[in-house]
């Protein structure tokens, strides 16, 4: 898997842009669905197969691709894809 550009010298992408460019490929990979579309308001209920194990696979894949690490509390309290994207962007900004 190709690592996205990790340099910090550019301005951080917007949440929507990060969902489209950064998270969508990971979600498509995890759910083995190349047409999956996600947005800030997408929740686990909206995606077929997004159970607790799929959730872990998403988080583990994000950790690997973006070189971040989540606490158990962060993993369990996520509301939707928007809060997930903000959490990752926030972690990368402080990395």
């Amino acid at each position: 898997m190709k690592l996205p550009n990790q340099t910090n010298d550019q301005t951080a992408p917007s949440t929507a842009q990060f969902i489209a460019d950064g998270l969508t490929p990971i979600f498509r990979d995890v759910f083995d669905d190349d047409e999956l579309v996600i947005s800030e308001v997408t929740t686990a209920r909206d995606v077929e197969g997004w159970d607790s194990l799929a959730h872990i696979r998403i988080m583990v894949s994000i950790e690997k691709v973006f070189g971040v690490r989540f606490t158990a509390a962060e993993i369990s309290k996520l509301k939707d894809v928007g809060t997930l994207a903000e959490l990752v962007l926030n972690k990368r900004a402080h990395a």
């Binding site: 990979d29 083995d32 190349d34 194990l53 872990i56 696979r57 894949s61 690997k64 989540f70 993993i75």
Partner: protein, 626 residues
């Protein structure tokens, strides 16, 4: 990146960017197998598993994959491991299905006959236990309590295995225990009886003693140590979902497990073919000369190549046949083996030496033919990416590891790839490399000798026929599970089955060994006959291709006939079941004078009237061990 060899499966090439699309487009088992031969992460393995399941459900052909059904019993969450196992098994030519228990159901599954395995045929059960699921009770400083606790844990594991065996008949793949990272006593932890690390180390040694006919060890402790325990254990994932290790190691965990499944099917590789320039030594012999190449102690590059030679010799000592394929003049290529004082490898270690200017794929094909080994038994080691690509493309059955630029990591990468997974070590294994050597000598002798009869006479062959016994059992099982070509019925029996034949007086069993003037071939043939009063049925007849064309089968028949007659039988019935691999013996019974009595595309039966049998003159003397 040296620590990432395992995590990244660095010996496998990187997947193409259109991997996902290729998986979605695959419609055969063969295509999926090829796609599995890349360094895949867990999501990619999951895709393969999904596609396999789709093909299976929709009636696509899964040939040439072998179907294997296993049970998975664990005291932690295995939901994420299962798809990794299924995707990885494709790499080994296995179409895997898994019967999986719920989380933490080890004892419930083992000790109840009404479990999910009831009525299922399982070829193995993977028992994935974790230190957190065992009744381990640390008592630092209390040796008596510590010893007792180990015995308690050991009895628990042993009774789980025993019940699973009794209830399902499956063999057990037991994973040993990766110790925790946290050691409260620091360096003193391991010395102090009763600490958790001490208990786990001692329990693991006890588990090693379980290795027997029905239990294999999956060395998770060794794998976790290799990748680093603090990487392996992920407390966050354990707390959230009871995942037993960091999931980025699921691909290598699955590869480790599938190596054992493949080894059980006789799919471990048996021959290592090595390039010379910049692989076995640094530099180019044709350009640098024998004094210019880098091999030996005193120079870091020379030591790196020496380490690879040492590893090759270690493999040879455990029965792996060594061969050379190099683009060189033959005489030039041989000089370092004969003249360089620091070479560890010498010409007599190399069974087949192919140095010429033909392409490597053709040379590898020639080596396989000379050794009577299949291409699926071959590993090809070459520093040159172009050569690797050519061989991979021409001969997909051959394993061709990617190598890092630094030769210091060649040996590590080769071994990490696990091509030569062993599930037993027999006396024959110890001597096999030299058997093949003798065989190559023989091929050369044959080339010189125009007269086949006098050649066979000159071999002074001595054949020993013995009933099955404890000492021969590992090799008998090995031959039964590995022989594909000279195998009339291709029935696979495990160690337990073989023991049953050994003890059942209704069966006549033979392990046959062959010695000759050039060396000892070891056990080369196995025969099982069912004794009915007047008719003996040949259930299994197989032979190692090393001794083809030596009239061994005629001598074996002589032995069977004389025993059958002694016990009052009048007729011998043989069966031939054609497979993709055994066309070699299509005419076996006809050549031996049997008459065909039934024939369709799956099954042929042949009969021999013992009263009519005329023993031939053979260049082999028969001996009977008591």
């Amino acid at each position: 990146m040296t620590n990432n060899i395992y995590e990244c499966l660095s010996w496998l090439p990187e997947a193409a960017t259109d991997f996902s699309r290729s998986v979605s487009a695959a419609t055969t088992g063969a295509e999926l197998q090829e796609l599995a031969k890349f360094a895949l992460d867990q999501n990619q393995l999951g895709k393969l598993a999904n596609r396999l399941s789709y093909l299976r459900t929709n009636g696509f052909s899964l040939a040439p994959l072998v179907s294997v059904n296993i049970g998975l019993v664990s005291d932690s969450t295995t939901g994420l491991i299962a798809s990794a196992l299924i995707g990885t098994a494709l790499r080994f030519g296995i179409s895997l299905t898994i019967e999986q228990t719920e989380y933490n159901q080890v004892a419930q599954t083992a000790f109840s006959t009404e479990n999910i395995f009831a009525g299922k045929t399982l070829s193995a059960i993977l028992l994935a236990i974790d230190y957190r699921g065992l009744p381990l009770t640390p008592t630092p400083g209390n040796r008596v309590a510590a010893d007792q606790n180990i015995q308690d844990c050991f009895s628990y594991v042993r009774s789980v295995i025993h019940s699973l065996r009794t209830n399902t008949g499956a063999q057990i793949i037991l994973q040993n225990i990766a110790p925790p990272v946290e050691t409260p006593f620091g360096s003193y932890e391991g010395r102090l009886p009763g600490t958790l690390s001490w208990l786990i180390a001692h329990l693991n040694s006890e588990l090693d003693c379980l290795i027997s006919d029905d239990t294999f060890i999956l060395d998770v402790a060794g794998l976790a140590a290799n990748v680093g325990l603090s990487n392996w254990h992920d407390p966050t994932l354990w707390n959230i979902a009871k995942l037993p290790f960091a999931q980025r190691y699921a691909p290598i965990y699955a590869d480790y497990a599938c190596r054992i499944l493949a080894a059980k099917l006789g799919k471990s590789r048996r021959c290592l073919i090595m390039d010379l320039d910049n692989t076995l030594w640094g530099g180019v012999i044709g350009d640098d000369g024998v004094d210019g190449i880098l091999i030996g102690n005193g120079d870091p590059t020379a030591e790196a190549h020496l380490h690879l030679q040492r590893t090759a010799l270690e493999l040879r000592d455990r029965g792996i046949v060594l061969a050379v394929s190099s683009k060189n003049e033959d005489a030039t290529a041989r000089i370092p083996f004969a003249e360089h004082a620091d070479m560890l490898l010498r010409e007599h270690h190399i069974a087949v030496f192919q140095a010429n200017w033909s392409d490597k794929a053709s040379n590898i094909r020639a080596i396989a033919e000379t050794l009577s080994l299949g291409l699926e038994s071959m590993v090809f080691l070459d520093d040159n990416p172009a050569e690797r690509m050519q061989v991979r493309k021409e001969l997909p059955g051959v394993a061709v590891p990617e190598l890092p630029e630094d030769p210091a990591l060649f040996a590590r990468t080769l071994i990490a790839a696990g091509y030569f997974e062993a599930i037993a070590f027999s006396q024959e294994d110890q001597m096999r490399a030299s058997f093949y050597q003798d065989n190559v000598k023989r091929i050369q002798v044959l080339n010189q000798s125009s007269d086949m009869v006098s050649y066979l006479e000159s071999l002074e062959m001595e054949m020993t026929c013995t009933p099955f016994d404890v000492n021969g059992r590992p090799r008998i099982v090995q031959l039964i599970s590995k022989s594909n070509q000279f195998n009339l019925t291709t029935k696979r029996y495990n160690e337990v089955d073989v023991k049953n034949f050994e003890e059942d007086s209704n069966y006549f069993t033979r392990q046959i060994r062959l010695k000759d003037a050039l060396g000892d071939n070891g056990m080369i043939s196995v025969i099982i006959c069912r004794k009915n009063a007047a008719i003996w049925e040949i259930d299994t007849w197989l032979m190692s291709c090393r001794v083809l064309g030596r009239r061994v089968e005629e001598a074996a028949l002589m032995d069977i006939v004389s025993n059958a007659k002694k016990s009052g039988a009048t007729k011998l019935v043989g069966t031939y079941c054609p497979t993709a691999r055994n066309a070699l013996v299509k005419r076996h019974y006809s050549k031996l004078g049997f008459t065909n009595t039934f024939c369709d595309h799956k099954f042929e039966t042949w009969e021999l009237d013992l009263a009519q049998y005329q023993p031939p003159e053979l260049p082999i003397s028969l001996k009977y061990a008591i």
